[in-house]
Subunit: 426 residues, 2 copies
């Protein structure tokens, strides 16, 4: 394929940006470089991956992950990193005009360390809102870095009620409140906007930290409008990139709190003191060194963000498509006898589904049969109900590109699987 | 290409393993799977990357990095991760029979956090042997986690003398001694074997920690025979994989020291308490979860380790090839007027070269001209001499596969560049 034909192909899939950027108006697309022979790359045939992350990713993203080795200090690479910083700020990871992104090699978990070691000082209080497994882990992390942690726990399948948050905030002064936007162990969606409202009203100095690992790009987040101080996520879920990149976006208020610490930061690798000048340099399209960034993954992340931000599907449509796919899967599942883990519709995530097995069935009746139909789902994770349910992810390209037929495949595989499992018991 | 033809092609490039494995004798090669159409993938044309990491990587490694999304909990993925753990232990990252590898998403820098937060308790003493920039950073990291750090500094271009190490060890009891095997800022090679001998003789309880980020697979390391307690490295240098994987190998003695801590580990993401059961599970070819591993990068790492461990070039030949390439480059450079940063031949690294510009020349005379010849080198990094020198990496496939002509290209580009620079001054 000629360069111009390739450019035409790409331009058909992209629409002009409607948002403006402080430093650069146009994102460089490394896939559009004449040296990149995208047309030759198609990912290998494989089972459909519909766990709540990692998710299916596009050929373009995988091809970018196979970018030839590049120097992390190269003037060709720096603006690609810079674009990622700009896109993640402007996109729905943050919906902010001035928040500070940190893109660091690591798992999503590293975001907890960043919050615990940069925003909280040893001996300060943290309030963790518990809607599943990941709150316990975040609390554990905060404690390791010296915070005094209280948890407000919802019932399994529920989100913490605002009245309970208000009561806790009135009883004690907290440096941070953390909320898991979508808990990957329960598929429970917390109302982050409402949580932030309560905090701003009752304890306006308290920072609102959102664990958005399983929600960015499938659920709306508005840092500025809602008053969120830190959003932490990872590359391998709604952001449609292989795992290995920790992404944290901090409000300017959070950055000020970090800068006004009275004690030193308690991590080295996750220290914003080290990373802040690096992120600022790359955002200015020039390289700086603290630790070698995951260069190939940054190219892959750039390819995915470009598809998300400039693709023919707008961000609003993207959220709508996630809601639609979620409803279809949940409805189809309930119709044949599965019951959702979330206790009510208003706490159901749109990017994943957690389903109790019908009475008399266990994981081994369902998950291996789905696997035989080339559909890979995830088992239970929440300790109290681990063996009683399973989880389906429906994020990113599986949802946004209906021509793939992924959602149809998941639904029919579920239907056939349960019919077979029922038949085998008779 | 048919599956059998592909298998034949791969078998031509591999020779049988001569080492034995506790759990599995044969490494699975994901590239040999019928579903992988390796024959169609050739990496895009690009400038020759000869910085001291990231380095050039093979098409097989990049194709593995473009592996379709896989669950980190998949029974297909777990043995691939398990193979990486086994290969890194048996290979020249450790040369150990029972040491414990940790493969964690992150930069090489994360290895410093792992050592500082798992092996050293707050208030304990650490001795850092300084042969360049990276010792200062390791010292900084140790201090952040509460260690009392002393440094023994070599002159620029030198390694710390054994007599100085002995004197320091006799003056104070240290929990750890750290040595940078090859300091990427100076290209100085430290004699790790000799350092370990001094420590074992003078202060046998002290742990010997080797920062081997820029030495694994280009310099020999024998953990067991030399008495090394921790080797920390990263994926993007001698190990020939894109950046984004922190690799630490800890001796059983180090693991015991970690397990007998009297205070809690001071990191969450880098905590061996969290990762040890995960590494043990994957080594048993079953998945376990603490934080999502960088799945694609693990496939890429597997592809590279397979080429290193099972390729037609033995590990001994690999070291010899690095020595030969290093000598050729250094000799050619000195012949035309460059002077090496290392002060003597016995402290010259084999995987990289640091060269002072000839009198009257600066970085701008040399580096952009090399770039115009499609040769990407690195600028200076050591603060005291930053503008006076540059650095060339010669590791991995650029050295091991002479048919690429990379080393010839580097040498002739250097020669032409300096001739042009000289001509331009006349």
């Amino acid at each position: 394929m000629s360069t111009s034909a390739l450019r035409n192909l790409i331009s058909l899939k992209l629409k002009p940006l409607s948002i403006s950027y402080p430093q650069a108006r146009i994102f460089r697309n490394p896939l559009a470089s004449p040296a990149r022979k995208m047309s030759t790359f198609v990912q290998a045939p494989h089972k459909l991956l519909v766990i709540p992350g990692p998710i299916e990713v596009t050929d373009e993203v995988l091809y970018a992950n196979a970018h030839p080795s590049m120097s992390h200090m190269s003037p060709d690479f720096a603006p690609v990193f810079g674009d990622c910083i700009r896109m993640i700020r402007q996109g729905r990871a943050s919906g902010s005009s001035d928040a500070q992104p940190f893109l660091i090699a690591g798992s999503g978990t590293l975001g907890w360390d960043q919050v615990s070691a940069n925003l909280v000082e040893p001996g300060e209080n943290a309030l963790v809102l518990h809607s599943g497994y990941f709150a316990d882990s975040f609390a554990d992390c905060l404690q390791i870095y010296g915070a005094n942690v209280d948890q407000v726990k919802a019932e399994i399948g529920g989100a913490v009620k605002e009245a309970d948050i208000e009561r806790a905030l009135k009883a004690k002064k907290y440096k941070v409140v953390t909320v898991t936007h979508v808990d990957t162990s329960t598929a429970v969606l917390s109302n982050v906007k409402a949580v932030a409202e309560v905090v701003k009203r009752v304890s306006p100095d308290t920072l609102v930290v959102v664990d958005a690992v399983c929600s960015v790009a499938s659920e709306e987040i508005q840092m500025d409008a809602w008053g969120i101080d830190a959003v932490l996520t990872a590359s391998q879920k709604g952001l449609g990139t292989p795992p290995g990149l920790s992404i944290v976006v901090a409000s300017q208020k959070a950055i000020q709190v970090f800068e006004n610490r009275s004690t030193p930061v308690t991590t080295y690798y996750g220290s914003w003191k080290k990373w802040l000048p690096i992120m600022k340099a790359y955002e200015n399209n020039s390289a700086a060194y603290f630790a070698t960034p995951p260069v190939n993954l940054i190219y892959a992340f750039h390819a995915s963000l470009t598809q998300i931000m400039q693709g023919s599907v707008s961000l609003e449509q993207r959220f709508k498509l996630h809601q639609d796919a979620s409803r279809r899967i949940k409805k189809a599942a309930e119709k044949i006898g599965f019951k959702g883990v979330p206790i009510s519709e208003d706490v159901q995530a749109n990017g994943m589904t957690a389903l109790y097995f019908p009475d008399g069935f266990v994981a081994n009746d369902i998950i291996p049969r789905l696997l035989k139909k080339d559909v890979v789902v995830a088992g239970g994770l929440h300790a109290s109900i681990k063996d009683k349910y399973f989880r389906i992810g429906h994020m990113g390209v599986s949802v946004v590109d209906p021509s793939r037929g992924d959602i149809d495949k998941v639904i029919s595989a579920m239907q056939e699987t349960l019919a077979e499992a029922r038949a085998s018991k008779q």
